[in-house]
């Protein structure tokens, strides 16, 4: 059974996992020089959305409504990733971008969101975290760092997307940063 304290620790770990995924996307973008397509960017957006629930859980204590936000975000992200998988489903299609460990980024994204759905459902199985009121959650450096890491990476995506697309709609198959041309 999860205590509120343990649930908040797990939520902080979830935020670190989201930060790692967003950082991996940046690594592929800058080290492999692969510009994210609109659907790729929307998958990153879904990861930012996934982080809102854990942030609220850390700030106000665990609540079912906060987990519901994460479930909605995970469904959105899994749906977008599934569409991109289906776009490249035909035999011989090279896919978009470089495959990592045999899977493209969008395939890994689908796996991550499917795992998130399972983990959030598992978290919701424990009622004890909701019965024990947390009046003023003590966050500590572990939780605070997790929150600001994800916020910083999300804001970095604002800048990166603006440099890539400028004040326009991102092209379906981007080849250069519009603001650096």
């Amino acid at each position: 059974m999860l205590t509120p304290r343990l649930a908040m620790t797990l939520n902080a770990l979830g935020l670190y996992a989201i930060a790692v995924i967003l950082a991996a996307a940046f690594a592929m973008q800058f080290w492999l020089h692969e510009l994210p397509c609109p659907l790729c960017l929307l998958q990153r957006v879904a990861f930012a959305a996934l982080a809102v629930g854990p942030v609220l859980n850390l700030r106000f204590g665990p609540r079912p409504s906060h987990y519901a936000l994460s479930l909605l975000a995970a469904l959105l992200g899994a749906g977008i990733a599934m569409r991109q998988i289906l776009l490249h489903i035909m035999p011989g299609d090279p896919g978009y971008g470089t495959a990592l460990l045999g899977l493209h980024y969008y395939s890994w994204v689908f796996v991550c969101f499917a795992a998130a759905l399972l983990l959030i459902a598992a978290m919701l199985l424990s009622d004890r975290q909701f019965k024990e009121a947390v009046e003023a959650p003590r966050l500590g450096a572990f939780g605070t760092t997790a929150v600001f890491l994800v916020v910083a990476l999300t804001l970095a995506n604002v800048a990166s997307t603006f440099v890539e697309c400028g004040p326009n709609i991102c092209p379906d198959d981007p080849v250069s940063y519009r603001l650096l041309q």
Binding site: P38, L39, L41, L42, R44, V45, A46, A48, A49, A51, V52, V55, L56, R59, F60, S65, L69, L72, A73, L76, G79, I80, R83, L86, L87, I89, M90, D93, V147, V150, V151, T154, L155, N157, V158, T161, F162, C165, G166, P167, N168, I169, C170, D172
Partner: protein, 63 residues
């Protein structure tokens, strides 16, 4: 249905979405739970609209 690209003028659709979700996180962090939930709801609806704007290619599937 007007999509996010139209609503934001010429574009910047995904940059706006990242910014809105970041604001939702920051609003929650600084104690404004209601504002955070409202921003999340708005951002989620706009994300779906933006997805529908970009999901125009026919899927190579046959049943």
């Amino acid at each position: 249905m007007r999509d996010l690209a139209e609503l934001t003028g010429r574009g910047m659709d995904q940059a706006v979405l990242f910014l809105l979700f970041a604001l939702a996180m920051l609003a929650g962090w600084f104690g404004h739970r209601g504002l955070s939930l409202a921003l999340f709801g708005l951002s989620l609806v706009l994300s779906v609209a933006d997805y529908l704007h970009h999901a125009t290619d026919a899927l190579p599937l046959s049943f």
